[in-house]
């Protein structure tokens, strides 16, 4: 069995309670950090661990912590991003629901490291039942002296607030999240200034994903070097993968970074292979925003090497033949899936979720949705394919926040790898627009 950092105790009965979590060694990282380490030493361990942000962008966490401005007399904030709304991603939901104290413990050591006395966990509002679970865990931690005033007699105070969102994917973008936390619409901010300098309430702020923060107890207990020894190259540690679609065993799996895509997809320890009687057609490896890959580029790179579940290997080949690890939303398509329909579905999502501040994103996502809708429903023309490529290009890199890119990439990559399927929809409109119709050309040819 591969190394487990986050999920080792996840199936222990009662692990959601303080008592059982504590018996399994929980909160020892808080004791160690607060009683025996300085905040700078905790930051140092995070740097040594090499852990990269698990929310999608993969930015090194210790480095981000190092950027935090520390002006005299100004409060600093840690905000945990639990907005989890990227289609195909459900790992944070699973982790917080099953083992809430892990995140709470991570929040305490991370807040201590950053010198924050009030920290927030921003959870998408749809997960209100998870918010209640977290609030209960916070109460328990407080009752046991791990939160509140003068934690473990150290003089360090920390209060944790769980904040519900209101339903908006864009609030996963860190500056939109901060706006939302201030009680406003989730419009991303222009950067600079970055949150590390002016974040929540114009104060220095760090925003990190649930999974990133939940690794910290292990890093403190075992040391950053031990963490960095797990994984492969600059992809250190483990990663939670949310596996969905046409596989035998959908669910959340913790992998050691560097396991092969083939093993993750086909072994019984993980996805268990494509569902019976079907075969692999395409994969979205890191949540709906990353480029889709066709079957022949999934388990092998274009150069013929084994493709691994790591930041580097998944992006091998750039956007021409590679993709990204992203948030770890692993969506598997077998031959019954219609790529055009899925691309239309995703573009509808981005159009719906665009905050509307910048015209390339607002107009472009709407346009792409409309054109894809007409191709899928049998009213497209060949010209539409180039139009889509053109609109996607015009959005990319021309917006305030990366949602624009996130909307453009799925469309551009679907056309890059499945152009014949788009053409088939246009030349066979009647057949293609029947419910459940799927292009089989590539398979039959």
């Amino acid at each position: 069995m591969a190394k487990k950092i986050l999920t080792e105790h996840i199936n222990v009965p009662g692990i959601e309670t303080f008592e059982v979590y504590r018996k399994q060694g929980g909160y020892t990282a808080v004791e160690k950090a607060i009683k025996t380490m300085t905040p700078e030493e905790v930051v140092e361990e995070a740097k040594k661990s090499g852990i990269r942000g698990r929310g999608g962008a993969g930015f090194p966490m210790g480095m981000k912590w190092g950027f935090l401005a520390k002006p005299e007399g100004v409060p600093r904030y840690l905000v945990c991003n639990a907005d989890e709304s990227e289609p195909g991603t459900f790992k944070d939901h699973h982790l917080m629901k099953c083992i809430p104290h892990l995140l709470i413990e991570g929040m305490i050591v991370s807040s201590f490291a950053l010198g924050a006395n009030k920290s927030f966990i921003y959870v998408r509002g749809e997960l209100m039942y998870v918010i209640r679970i977290l609030e209960k865990a916070i109460e328990e931690a407080k009752a046991n002296g791990f939160l509140g005033k003068n934690i473990l007699g150290s003089g360090y105070d920390l209060e944790l607030v769980v904040q519900p969102g209101g339903g908006a994917y864009i609030c996963g973008e860190e500056t939109a999240l901060l706006e939302s936390l201030e009680g406003k619409r989730g419009n991303p901010r222009n950067k600079p200034p970055f949150p590390a300098v002016k974040g929540l309430y114009q104060s220095p702020t760090v925003v990190n994903n649930v999974e990133s923060i939940s690794n910290m107890p292990w890093v403190i207990n075992n040391g950053g070097d031990a963490y960095a020894a797990i994984g492969i190259g600059r992809s250190t540690g483990t990663k939670l993968i949310s596996a969905s679609g046409h596989i035998q065993k959908p669910g959340v799996y913790e992998i050691e970074l560097g396991v092969s895509v083939d093993e993750f997809l086909n072994s019984d320890e993980y996805c268990g292979g494509i569902r019976k009687g079907h075969h692999l057609k395409a994969l979205v490896a890191g949540g709906s925003s990353v480029p889709i890959l066709p079957a022949h580029l999934i388990t092998k790179t274009a150069a013929g090497e084994d493709r691994l579940m790591s930041y580097e290997s998944l992006s091998d080949g750039g956007f021409a033949t590679g993709t990204m690890l992203g948030s770890g939303g692993f969506i598997v398509f077998d031959e019954t899936a219609c790529i055009v329909r899925n691309t239309w579905n995703f573009s509808r999502f981005y159009h719906h979720e665009s905050c509307g501040q910048c015209s390339p994103c607002r107009e472009g996502t709407g346009w792409m949705e409309k054109v894809l809708h007409r191709i899928e429903h049998g009213h497209g023309s060949m010209h539409d394919i180039d139009l889509l490529v053109d609109v996607a290009k015009k959005i990319e890199g021309n917006t305030i926040c990366p949602l624009g890119d996130a909307a453009a990439w799925p469309v551009a990559s679907a056309i890059r790898h499945f152009r014949d399927e788009f053409e088939w929809h246009i030349t066979n409109p009647h057949e293609a627009s029947q419910p459940g119709a799927v292009f089989m050309g590539a398979v039959l040819a």
Binding site: S85, D92, E126, P164, S180, Y201, P250, I331, N342
Partner: protein, 165 residues
């Protein structure tokens, strides 16, 4: 359907909850309480009418327009009266791979309504939502705080029957 009474007032327990929420934020940052307080309001009345929004503005000492702006931006707040049970059905890609579209058609047919509509008996309102972070357990819908996952026609029959009692 719940009408908002005039004048609008939270129950004593909910008012205490609202005050506790406002106290979570630093001095002068009480506007941060807006999203959570709107959730408490929706819990009480089922939706947020303009009277409710005005009342929330008063409690938070902010302008009513600041509340309208927010309530209209986020998808979870219902701005019109809704049925007893609001079914929020996930329409996004991964759920569709698991047969989400077929189950959705079945549900619409069973209830005899389309997205955005309420059944004549006022029991069910249907709403389409995007990915609910439960894609591995799709198809999925949510009613209030509860997730209904791995939906099949049989499961849909059971759930609707149960909630119709």
């Amino acid at each position: 359907m719940t009408e908002t009474p005039n004048p609008v007032a939270f129950t004593p327990e909910r008012l205490a909850k609202v005050k506790e929420i406002i106290a979570r934020y630093p001095e002068g940052r009480q506007k941060s309480a807006l999203l959570p307080v709107l959730h408490v309001a929706q819990e009480q009345w089922g939706w947020v009418s303009s009277e409710v929004m005005d009342h929330v503005a008063e409690l938070l000492s902010i302008e009513p327009v600041e509340v309208y702006e927010v309530a209209t931006f986020y998808t979870m707040y219902h701005l019109d009266a809704v049925g007893k049970h609001v079914i929020e059905y996930c329409r996004t890609g991964p759920c569709c791979l698991m047969g989400g579209e077929e189950i959705y058609d079945y549900l619409k047919q069973k209830l005899g309504i389309q997205a955005g509509q309420t059944t004549p008996d006022g029991l069910f309102t249907l709403k389409e939502v995007e990915c609910l972070a439960a894609c591995g357990w799709g198809p999925v819908f949510q009613i209030r705080e509860k997730f209904y996952m791995n939906l099949t026609r049989e499961r849909v029959d059971e759930i609707i029957e149960e909630l119709s009692k």
